[in-house]
Structures are given as structure tokens and as C-alpha cells.
């Protein structure tokens, strides 16, 4: 249906020419889903935009052809192209916030393609738009037609985008990262919706994503892109099982999975992706490939037939079998739970963020970001916090290190209260609580050199002489695997992974007892992410500090922590040993979250029954009783009235649910301390 042959795109910018796409061959058959995966900057979006004829200004198609059902698209005139766009070929973009016109109602926006292409009257178009909104799962579409984009949640907006793309029943849909900005639970729903609609409307789909798990589950065939080239393509199962290209194999190896062996170091691809402006000689991956030979560096690999049908790869030294790259190292076994006394205790912690009152004399309302959370972390233990976006993880994390003051409740470190104290009263205890931030860019002062950044904690705490401080900075760098040569640079001169390591080194400079890491790797690309994860784990084990890892990525949390807490709308719904919680989730929410995680394995069972449905309620007025009841398949009247408390369902495994998926242990003990003892 859509055949791309040897497509190359060039973008001319003053002083440099970027080649984001080089010699890409792709075929899309009717009714199939073609997944395109690759790291950031690999040219996925450019390929999609080239098909749409919407390349950014200054870019030209320098070679190849795009054949859509017999029509050559690369040479099509603007008017004819417009007739195809939005009609025969549609596109869904990643960012649903800016992809909708803020000043027009969603009804108008969904109806627009019909008016443009089918000459439909306004009335007809709106009627059809309403049907379409219903089809993409927007409840009460007739009421929603007049809404403006800002009144919808992220998931809803993405649905509107889909309705808009599908209203003319196109034959090809290009979905460019349609779910990247969304929570796993919603991501699963949207992807499911897309697959369903695709079947229903009989169209073909190109699904662009950087998530191997997503393609594994949703694509019929997969194309892997690297540095502007398509390096491997084939049927999903075949490609995953008989991975040939060294890059694909490295990529798959570096993704932590829910079934990952925690004691084995993750594989990580060294270096960073190529600059699309650099001249392209040989295999683009050669610089980072362990198997690279001289030939790889000089000769561009030619496409080669792989084992399965339509499996093509471009690699001089293909990997021979399916096995992933063997991990080099095992982590030493930690001597589990020697210290009995908890180092960090959190007692009924609450945080409310006031928001401006609605109405003039209205009550000042507040977002209940954290609503009564209690847990403990022992010395040397790593504790994880997971949950959907907005459930209060970061708010909690900031209170743990006394960056924010709790509304009520307290945080104790070694039995001493650290919350609710002014910076002065906190004194030297301040240094014992450190944090690693999510955004490596924002967490380093752009005007400071690395050496100053690393010395700053010591300066502030008046530790050591200048010479000692420099020595300690060098040591800190070494401990995160960086050489001293980096000291004279500014943060923007470092890669994301390096910056994140500096952030970690700085947090460690004061030798903290407690380290909170808020989304430490979620801003990093897959290949870099594994480097940082490995490092964090090493440090944790070496230093024996108590750490709290916050992430919405369940696999990351599982890899890093011993115990995990699942948060929902400000409350802890399940706490327990990681393996226990992951293998035998007791809360329906935990189970749903786990079910929604896309696994980079085409054979993994997909159990849609357990998924969490619907949207997160507003934390301004959370539901009464059990907060999860509005989305829970098991909810009854009881759940609306009585708020469940944490009760044990196993050794070191508590859940707050009236109808846990695991049998409760009798007698129920609220006291987690007691349970573990």
C-alpha cells in the first residue's frame, strides 16, 4: 500500500547540513501495523513527516520515492497532496497539549477534515464528529463537543487527536509516539484503542515509538532505525527472536524488564548516538559496537536477508542467535537486613498544595498531593515508590529530604525529626539528606563549572580546605565513573548521562545517609539509561545508604530497590518486598499497573482484563473511602464508605484494600515494624 524506497532527507541550516534520514526502505501492507523504533534523533519522525509531505522548512527529499497506492508522493503538487493529507493518510502527533488549537472547540477541530475533504456541511460534519468521539471512547460526546482542549485530560486529548485523524477513515495512519507523554495505564488503553480502530476501519498504521515494549505488543512488523538509517526490519516475532543487527541486539539487552535478574548488571551501549550532521561513512553504529571491525568503519553495510520472511538487516557482523548480550558482572549479594532499627521513618505524612479559590469568597482549596503516608526504610535498604503521574511521588520525595515542609506528619531520620525545621535548626543533619534529580539539565547550575558544582556542597558545609575539596571532588567523579578531565567543563558541555552522574556525585559528596532519587533515569535515552542504573545500583550496594527511588517505570524500580510502595492519589496502597509485590500484587491497582507495562517480548501474555481503566480523579477532591474505587472493577458500596487501611497479606507485604487479590494474613497487623520483626 505504501512503499518507501531509498528515501533520503536533507535539512540545510546555515553552516551545516543535517541528514536525518538516509536510504530508508519500508513497505506497509494493507491492514498491518508497522512499528518504527529507535532512539531519540534516529529519524523516525522525519520519515513519518516525509510521507505526509510535511518536512520542516529548509529540508528536501534528496532521493528515493514514496509510493502510495500507485501515486508517487515525492513529486506531488501541493493541492493534490492536500487532498490526500488528512483524508487518505492521517497522522497523530505526540504532544496532545500543543497539537490542539487552544481557541477552537474540539467538536470543530474533529469535524474540520470532513468539511475540508468531503465537502460536508457543518451540521453533518459535527454529527459525524460526535460519533467519532464516541468511537474513541470519550464519554458523553455530545456534551464534550463544545469543550476546549484545556478542559480535557491528557488521555482525553490524545483520544480527540485520534478521532480527528480517523474521521475521514484514512487508509494509512501514522502515529508518531502517540503515547509517550502518557501514563502506562492510559498508554495501554490508547494503544489498544488504536489497534481496535485499525482493525475496525481496515487501515494500515505506522506506529513510531522508542519503546521496544510497545512495538512488541502492538506491531505486526518492526523497523529499527539508527542514525537516520533503517538497520533492521522484519515481522515482530521474528525480529525479536532472531535479532541480527548488533544495534537491535544491544538495544534489547539494555532494557530492564520486569523479569530482569536484579543481581546482574544491565548491558549498556557505550558512547552516544551519532550527530546527523556528521559525514556518514560505514556503519553508523560502528563506533559503539563491540563487534565492529575495520570494514564496519569504512563500508556502509548492505541490506541482507534474515531468517524469517521479510527480515532484512544491514550489518557486516550480524549477531548469530537470539541470546541477548551476556551481562558482564554480577552484583555482590547484599547482607540483607542486618540493622533492625529503621533509618528513615515516615509517619502519617501529608502535603496539601493550596490552589487559588474558585469563586470570590470560596474556600481556599488544596491539592491533597500526599494524604497520610507512613513507611520505613532501613539502613542499606533501597525503597521504591511507584504510581501514575500526579499521585504525589515527587511531593513525598521532597519532604523526605526536608526540601518542602509537610502539612502534617513527620519524617524521622535515625529517630530524629527532620521535617518542619528551619534550615538553621536542621544544621548538619541537612547534609545527611540528599537527592538526585530527574532533569539532569535543570539540576546543575549552568553558570558553574563541574569542579565548582562538586565542591559547592563542601564549601557550604565548610568541610575541608580548598585542596581537600578538590581531592574529594576528583574522588567523587571517579566513583561515578568519570575522569577528572571533565572538571573544567560547564554542564551543557556534557551528555545527559554524564550530567546525571555529576548529579549523583554531588549528592554523594556530603556522604548522606538517605538518598532520594526522583525519576533518576526517565529523561535519559535507553542506551544511556542502563549506564546510570548500573551505577546507582553499584553505589547503593557499596555505600550502604538508605535510598528512596521514585519512578513511574515499574521495571526501573524493580531493578533498583528491595522494597516498594505503590502510591495512588497521595496514598500508599501497597507496600512490600519488591519480588513479592511484583509477583503477587495484592491491590487491584498494582495488578493493573503491572499489566499495563509493555514488555519487550512479543510472546508475553497480554491480559487486558486486569488493566486499570479510566482516568485519575482530581486530587482536589479525591473520592471518598477507597480512592481507587472509581477505577476498580471490584469496588462495592463498602469501598465508597470506608477507607481501607494497610493490612498484611504476607510477610513484609501490606495492602490497603477491602478486597485484596491475595488473602489477608490473620490477625491483621497495621504495624509494618511488627510484621517484619
Amino acid at each position: 500500500m505504501l512503499t518507501i524506497r531509498d528515501l533520503s532527507v536533507e535539512i540545510r541550516r546555515p553552516g551545516r547540513t543535517v541528514r536525518p534520514v538516509t536510504g530508508v526502505d519500508l513497505v506497509l501492507h494493507p491492514g498491518e501495523t508497522l512499528g518504527i523504533v529507535g532512539e531519540t534523533g534516529s529519524g523516525k519522525s522525519m520519515t513519518g513527516l516525509a510521507v505526509m509531505g510535511m518536512l520542516p522548512g529548509g529540508s528536501t527529499i534528496t532521493g528515493g520515492s514514496i509510493d502510495f497506492d500507485g501515486t508517487e508522493l515525492t513529486t506531488l503538487g501541493p493541492a493534490e497532496y492536500r487532498a490526500i493529507r488528512g483524508n487518505d493518510i492521517s497522522m497523530v502527533f505526540q504532544d496532545s497539549m500543543t497539537s490542539l488549537n487552544p481557541t477552537r472547540s474540539i467538536g470543530d477541530q474533529v469535524a474540520e477534515p470532513l468539511i475540508l475533504h468531503r465537502g460536508a456541511s457543518k451540521r453533518e460534519a459535527r454529527a459525524r464528529a460526535e460519533e467519532m468521539l464516541a468511537l474513541v471512547g470519550i464519554p458523553r460526546p455530545s456534551e464534550r463537543m463544545g469543550d476546549f482542549p484545556h478542559q480535557l485530560s491528557g488521555g482525553m486529548r490524545q483520544r480527540v487527536m485520534i478521532a480527528m485523524a480517523l474521521i475521514c477513515e484514512p487508509r494509512v495512519l501514522i502515529a508518531d509516539e502517540p503515547t509517550t507523554a502518557l501514563d502506562v495505564t492510559i498508554q495501554a488503553e490508547i494503544l489498544e484503542l488504536l489497534s481496535g480502530l485499525k482493525r475496525q476501519l481496515g487501515m494500515a498504521m505506522i506506529l513510531v515509538t522508542h519503546d521496544m515494549g510497545v512495538v512488541a505488543r502492538h506491531a505486526d512488523r518492526v523497523g529499527v532505525m539508527y542514525g537516520g538509517r533503517l538497520v533492521e526490519t522484519g515481522a515482530t516475532a521474528d525480529l525479536f527472536r532472531h535479532t541480527r543487527h548488533q544495534y537491535t541486539r544491544a538495544l534489547l539487552s539494555s532494557i530492564p524488564t520486569l523479569a530482569q535478574d536484579k543481581h546482574v548488571e544491565l548491558f549498556s551501549i557505550p558512547g552516544s548516538p551519532p550527530d546527523p550532521a556528521d559525514p556518514q561513512i560505514g556503519c553508523r553504529f560502528a563506533a559503539r559496537c563491540a563487534a565492529a571491525t575495520d570494514r564496519c568503519r569504512t563500508e556502509t553495510p548492505v541490506p541482507t536477508e534474515g531468517p524469517g520472511e521479510g527480515h532484512v538487516f544491514s550489518c557486516w557482523n550480524p549477531a548469530d542467535e537470539t541470546t541477548l548480550i551476556a551481562a558482564q558482572r554480577r552484583f555482590p549479594e547484599a547482607d540483607a537486613a542486618t540493622a533492625a532499627a529503621p533509618r528513615l521513618s515516615v509517619v502519617d505524612l501529608r502535603k496539601e498544595h493550596p490552589v487559588s479559590a474558585k469563586g470570590l469568597f470560596g474556600r481556599r482549596r488544596s491539592v491533597k498531593a500526599v494524604a497520610g503516608v507512613s513507611f520505613e526504610v532501613r539502613a542499606g535498604e533501597a525503597f521504591g515508590l511507584v504510581g501514575e503521574s500526579g499521585c504525589g511521588k515527587s511531593s513525598l520525595g521532597r519532604m523526605l529530604v526536608a526540601l518542602d515542609q509537610p502539612t502534617s506528619g513527620e519524617v524521622l531520620v535515625d529517630g530524629e525529626r527532620v521535617s518542619g525545621l528551619s534550615a538553621r535548626r536542621l544544621g548538619p543533619r541537612r547534609a545527611k539528606l540528599q537527592m538526585m534529580f530527574q532533569d539532569s539539565h535543570a539540576s546543575l547550575d549552568p553558570k558553574m563549572r563541574i569542579d565548582d558544582i562538586l565542591r559547592e556542597p563542601l564549601v557550604i558545609q565548610r568541610i575541608g580546605t580548598p585542596a581537600e575539596r578538590t581531592r574529594r571532588a576528583v574522588d567523587a567523579l571517579a566513583s561515578v565513573g568519570l575522569g577528572p578531565s571533565i572538571m573544567e567543563r560547564y554542564p551543557h558541555e556534557l551528555s545527559g548521562g554524564q550530567r546525571q552522574r555529576i548529579g549523583l556525585a554531588r549528592a554523594l559528596a556530603l556522604d548522606p545517609d538517605v538518598l532520594v532519587a526522583d525519576e533518576p533515569v526517565s529523561a535519559l535515552d535507553v542506551s544511556i539509561r542502563s549506564q546510570v542504573l548500573n551505577l546507582m545500583r553499584t553505589i547503593q550496594l557499596e555505600r550502604g545508604l538508605s535510598s528512596v527511588v521514585i519512578s513511574h517505570d515499574l521495571a526501573v524500580v524493580r531493578y533498583l530497590v528491595d522494597r516498594v510502595g505503590v502510591m495512588y492519589l497521595g496514598a500508599l496502597v501497597e507496600v512490600g518486598a519488591t519480588d513479592d509485590v511484583y509477583s503477587r500484587p495484592a491491590h487491584p491497582y498494582t495488578a493493573g499497573l503491572l499489566a499495563a507495562v509493555p514488555v519487550a517480548d512479543p510472546d508475553a501474555a497480554d491480559d487486558p482484563v486486569e488493566r486499570v481503566r479510566g482516568e485519575l480523579p482530581s486530587p482536589l477532591d479525591p473520592p471518598s473511602g477507597c480512592r481507587f474505587r472509581t477505577r476498580c472493577p471490584l469496588a462495592t458500596e463498602l469501598c465508597a464508605q470506608v477507607e481501607p487501611t494497610l493490612e498484611a497479606v504476607g510477610r513484609d507485604h501490606d495492602v490497603a484494600c477491602h478486597f485484596p487479590l491475595q488473602p489477608k494474613r490473620e490477625p491483621s497487623r497495621h504495624d509494618a515494624e511488627g510484621v517484619r520483626a
Partner: protein
């Protein structure tokens, strides 16, 4: 264990080093490549040389009124003619230029300093204090600035210093808002949280983290402020509230020229007009170029 990892990291270095050159020279580099910006720099340098070195090359008597040679059109001995007091217009341009540039710069420095401190304090302290401080700015911003300056300039004798203070005293508001905005966005940045985590005091936050990071904005604002001050100064002069003998500035020169509009004494109007336009133009070009350069760098 550290050595192996250090190697891995070291591999990443070369590629990245070329990608993002360092800060100050990067800004200057970007400025250098910005043609209009460089034009601005050249015009400015030219004007400064004209005003400050010009009198050495082309000395004129700017203190003795010459009744017989008043209001002469350009010609022998007076390349740009003379003004109504018989002062050589070309020489007067140089003298007035010095004063205009000095007042512009002084007013801008005054406004920017005041605005920066005010904005930084409001932004960092936040809460009610910020609310009150910013409402004050709102109030002052709502009052037509020129009206205020005129009333004050009419009431008190104008000297270069008072003019700078008056102009500066009313133009710090924009700077204050700008810096406050910057500080507001900076103070929730994670590096500020990180510094807090280490136990940094508010003072340290302001001086080592917040102010240096607003420096680009401050410089850009300063450049525009100089331009604006020169325009306001010219307007004041034009409306008759400029400086008086023996001091002069471009606006006052223009003002005295304008009273001879009916008599067609163009040389008293256009050359000094051109000087004002060129200066402001150059400063705006430079400011825009600096802003572009600074924004590019932080991307």
C-alpha cells in the same frame, strides 16, 4: 571498579565537546556571526569615537556665543552650519553626544541595578512580600511614564545627574518584572533545590546561583535600557525640559533647532536627529543580537 567506568565515560567526551562550545566566547561568537548585531557594534564604536575623539580632531568653540555667525547654513568653516547661538553644529553634535550617551548609560545602569535587586528580592522571597512589591510595580507601570518624568523634570532643574536619576528612577520597573520572572523560574529549578539541599543560605542562592543565571537577561536589558533612555532624554529635550547652557544634549539641540522649523534651518534638525536614530538603532541591534546569542547558548 572505577577505572573501567571512567574509560567508558571518557569515550563520550570528544563528540560532545564539539557540539556545545563554551559560554562567554560562545556568546561573543554568536554575536560575531550576527551581521546586524555587528553593524550595531560598529555604529556604536563609531559614534563613541565621534563624540569623544571627534573634538580632539575637530576642536570647536562650544562656550562662546557668536552672534554674528548664528544660524549659518553649512558652508565654509562650518561643515554643518551653526545653531542659533552661533555654535558649530558638528562640534555641538559631539558635545551633546557625550552627554546623551553618558546620561543614557547612567540611567540604564541605575534602572537595571535597582530593577535587578528589587526583582530578585521579590522573586526569591515570594509570598505576600512579592505580592506587595509587584503591586507597587503594577501601580507605577500604569502611570504614564513620560507624564511623570515631565512633571518632575519641569519642577526641578535638569542636570545630567538628575536627568539620569529621573529617567532611571522610572524605568527600573520593566527590569524588575523581568528579573523577578527569571528568578521565579530559576528558583524552582532543580539546581536551586540542590543548593538548598546542601544547606545554602538565601544570600548564597541569590549571589551564586540566581544572579549569575540572569546575567544575560540583565545585560540585554541594560542595552535596551540605554536606547530607551536616550529616546526619553531626546523627548524631554524636545519638549523643552532638557539641559541648558553650557551643557547640551541631542534632545535639547533638536529642541532649539525645531523652533526654526518655519525658517527651514534643516541643519539644526536632521544631523542631530540622525545621531539619535543611529545610536538607538545600534543599541537595539546589539541588544537583539545579544539576546539571540544568549538564548542560543542556553538551548
Amino acid at each position: 571498579m572505577t577505572s573501567a567506568r571512567a574509560e567508558v565515560a571518557a569515550e563520550e567526551l570528544p563528540a560532545l565537546a564539539t557540539r556545545n562550545p563554551i559560554s562567554r566566547s560562545a556568546v561573543l561568537g554568536a554575536l560575531w556571526r550576527n551581521k546586524p548585531g555587528m553593524a550595531g557594534v560598529f555604529i556604536l564604536v563609531g559614534l563613541v569615537l565621534f563624540c569623544y575623539l571627534g573634538p580632539l580632531v575637530y576642536p570647536t568653540n562650544q562656550s562662546d556665543v557668536d552672534l554674528l555667525n548664528a544660524a549659518l547654513p553649512p558652508g565654509e568653516g562650518f561643515p554643518l552650519g551653526t545653531d542659533s547661538n552661533g555654535f558649530d553644529v558638528l562640534g555641538r553634535l559631539m558635545q551633546g553626544g557625550q552627554v546623551s550617551l553618558q546620561i543614557g548609560l547612567l540611567a540604564a545602569i541605575f534602572a537595571t541595578t535597582l530593577g535587578t535587586i528589587y526583582g530578585a528580592v521579590a522573586g526569591l522571597v515570594g509570598g505576600v512580600v512579592d505580592g506587595i512589591m509587584m503591586r507597587i510595580v503594577d501601580v507605577l507601570l500604569s502611570i504614564p511614564f513620560l507624564f511623570f518624568v515631565l512633571i518632575i523634570a519641569a519642577r526641578f532643574q535638569a542636570t545630567p545627574l538628575t536627568l539620569s536619576l529621573v529617567i532611571g528612577g522610572f524605568s527600573w520597573l520593566v527590569a524588575a518584572r523581568l528579573i523577578r520572572g527569571e528568578v521565579l523560574s530559576l528558583r524552582v529549578r532543580e539546581f536551586v533545590s540542590a543548593a538548598r539541599l546542601m544547606g545554602a543560605s538565601n544570600r548564597r542562592l541569590i549571589f551564586t546561583h540566581l544572579i549569575p543565571n540572569t546575567f544575560g537577561v540583565i545585560i540585554v536589558n541594560l542595552t535596551f535600557q540605554v536606547a530607551d533612555s536616550i529616546i526619553v532624554l531626546a523627548a524631554l529635550g524636545y519638549l523643552g525640559f532638557g539641559l541648558s547652557y553650557p551643557v547640551t544634549d541631542w534632545g535639547s539641540q533638536l529642541s532649539s533647532g525645531v523652533s526654526f522649523l518655519a525658517a527651514d534651518y534643516w541643519w539644526m534638525i536632521y544631523p542631530v536627529g540622525a545621531c539619535i536614530v543611529l545610536t538607538v538603532l545600534a543599541l537595539n541591534l546589539l541588544g537583539d543580537a545579544l539576546r539571540d546569542a544568549i538564548e542560543h547558548r542556553t538551548v
